[in-house]
């Protein structure tokens, strides 16, 4: 009996150790910020920049601020799948490459997602407490995005 437990524990830890060998490329831009970045497409006030940076950019840009446990598998794989999905839907680092139509529809989606508290994801803010949008920050963000969205609409 004890040998079976031993076997399971041994193979389990062996799998865990082997998993650590899988360390794919990280989502970090190493300060080579794309000219198509959101902050270069629009002039964004510093306060709004800060909020976006702490609450959104980990999953919605080409530059994730990885925590220490991101070096541990399978945490990393879970994280990567989240980041990939996030970037697919909205990537602030490539916002300038979007058509005007897409930019507006993305701004519109941001407003809806923030208003309904769907973003930032609860599973994310559970660990990143500083990413939680305070009422003040939420209002700041919404006000700015709404203004931007309306101005794009007016120009088209």
């Amino acid at each position: 009996m004890s040998s079976i437990i031993k076997k399971i524990a041994l193979s389990g830890s062996a799998i865990f150790l082997l998993m650590q060998l899988y360390q794919p490329e990280r989502n970090i831009d190493y300060v080579r910020v794309s000219p198509m970045h959101f902050f270069k497409t629009f002039s964004v006030p510093a306060k709004v920049q800060d909020v976006l940076q702490t609450s959104c950019f980990d999953c919605h840009s080409n530059n994730t601020n990885y925590p220490w446990y991101s070096y541990v598998q399978p945490v990393r794989m879970l994280m990567d799948s989240h980041i990939n999905e996030g970037k697919e839907n909205l990537n602030f680092s490539e916002f300038g490459t979007y058509s005007k139509r897409k930019q507006r529809s993305k701004l519109d989606r941001m407003i809806k997602q923030i208003k309904s508290d769907e973003m930032p994801l609860a599973s994310y803010t559970m660990i990143h407490r500083n990413a939680i949008l305070t009422n003040e920050n939420k209002a700041l963000l919404l006000k700015w995005i709404e203004k931007k969205s309306d101005s794009i609409l007016a120009n088209n």
Partner: protein
């Protein structure tokens, strides 16, 4: 020594398992192809040799004189020929826009019925017609325009398709999809008679537009809750 062999076995099996685990992580996305089945209507009408106004299926009797209906009705043939020539005259591209509009209207009608699953299925079909769009017959500038609109519309269709059960979320994307469809019809035109409708209640009056084939109001944003809320903005 025996222990060593046992250990080797364990390590070997764990390596194998690890490979399997990693291998299983690579998801195989199955691409589904939607093949719209063409239903052909091949019922040929026959008329009475004495009373050409009496028509029916082959073998039936004339209601006036009781003679067998034997004369194939030429009228239906000419009608089908007319349809054919119309189709040939229209460019393949207007057919693309029409197909997009048709699928969009199915999404709309599912939302009118509060049918979240139906809307998802219809949006999936819309996505397929977008992906099958044939833009070879239009010039580069128009093509760019179409691709821009289609790219955005595809994203919204995808979200509607992926969120069956969350009808509020689907309706948010439907509002943006409706804007794309409106611009597409404005730019490329359509052979269909369509209307743009507007619900001032939805989204604080910001985005509650939709396109309908009906003259009366059937609200896709509220469905049964407020079925007739809104009004027609214009004919398209």
């Amino acid at each position: 020594m025996k222990n060593l062999i046992k250990m080797k076995k364990i390590i070997l099996s764990t390596v194998l398992m690890a490979i399997v685990v990693v291998g299983c992580n690579q998801k195989n996305k199955q691409e589904e192809s939607v093949n719209p089945e063409a239903t052909e209507n091949t019922s040929q009408l026959y008329s009475c040799p004495m009373h050409p106004e009496v028509t029916g299926k082959q073998g039936e009797e004339c209601s006036k004189c009781g003679m067998e209906l034997t004369e194939p009705v030429a009228q239906t043939e000419t009608v089908s020929e007319e349809v054919k020539t119309v189709k040939v005259a229209a460019t393949p591209f207007s057919a693309t826009v029409d197909a997009n509009v048709n699928d969009y209207l199915k999404v709309k009608n599912a939302l009118v019925k509060d049918d979240s699953n139906g809307a998802a299925a219809a949006a999936k079909a819309l996505l397929a017609t977008f992906n099958a769009a044939n833009t070879t017959s239009i010039d580069a500038k128009m093509k760019k325009e179409y691709i821009e609109i289609a790219d955005d519309a595809k994203e919204h269709a995808e979200h509607i398709a992926d969120n069956s059960g969350k009808i509020a979320h689907q309706r948010e994307h439907f509002a943006l999809l409706s804007k794309d469809m409106n611009d597409m019809i404005k730019t490329f035109g359509t052979n269909k008679k369509l209307y743009q409708d507007y619900c001032p209640m939805y989204d604080q009056g910001k985005s509650g537009y939709w396109i309908s084939e009906l003259t009366d109001i059937q609200n896709p944003y509220y469905g049964s809750e407020m079925l007739t809320c809104g009004g027609m903005v214009k004919e398209l």
